[in-house]
Amino acid sequence: MSRSPESSPREKGTDVSGVELTDQAGQPWRLSAALRRGAVVLVFYRGDW
């Protein structure tokens, strides 16, 4: 395996506004929609870990 600069963890400056997922109820969720109300804090976790 070789180190690849383009696959390093993103630290600053990356445009992430295109993220589209679903919420826990299965409804669509778009980061771009949340951003219309201002800055967003994303917290990543896995509930049972």
Partner: protein, 184 residues
């Protein structure tokens, strides 16, 4: 991050009674985009959708230093430099795509109640990306659900990780010091 889908995440969200939107990333879209391989993480995004600060591994709203950064950012201030990342990626784009594909295939197999085959795919993904704690825990949760429900057995996880790393060192995976596995 929940590769087994919203059904696995829903009980936790309901217990926690969160007041913010909870989003399920069963296909690893965000881990691919942001390049992380451990949780918990905190990522601050400004109103233009640009990443301004990120802490991969060890982020917690119980840590005053993390809360201070979030409050400063939401108050319109500069969050400052991101912490030094503890989980450097060592995969090229092709290997990463293969890892993501095997994770997705494993999830599909598990949804068809073909758990042994799912774990085989996840183990193959872990061999490609042995630093990845997300994959490692996915396998543990599938093989040892009693260690995760109804309570998390952290001592078991630490012992398990220690044993697996010893086995990997003995097998020559990642060199004499083993893989630099992050522990959140």
């Amino acid at each position: 991050m929940e590769h087994t889908g919203g059904d696995a995440a829903r009980p936790f969200v309901e217990r926690a009674r969160t007041t913010f939107p909870t989003v399920v990333d069963e296909h690893g879209v965000t881990s691919t985009l942001l390049g992380f391989k451990a949780v918990p993480n905190g990522v601050l995004v400004d109103g233009d959708g640009v990443l301004r600060w990120a802490k991969y591994g060890g982020f917690s709203i119980d840590k005053p230093e993390d809360v201070a950064v979030v409050e400063r950012f939401l108050g319109g201030g500069d969050p400052g430099p991101s912490p030094v990342q503890a989980t450097p990626y060592t995969l090229g784009p092709v290997e990463r795509e293969l890892v993501d594909t095997k994770l997705r295939l494993g999830r599909l197999l598990e949804s068809l109640n073909r758990r042994d085959e799912a774990v085989t795919e996840w183990r193959a993904a872990l061999r490609l990306d042995p630093e990845n704690l997300v994959i490692r825990k996915q396998i543990w949760a599938a093989r040892h659900p009693e260690r995760f429900h109804p309570t998390i057995d952290w001592d078991w996880q630490r012992e398990r990780l220690k044993r697996e790393r010893e086995d990997e060192i003995a097998a020559g995976i990642c060199g004499p010091d083993g893989c630099p596995v992050p522990w959140a």
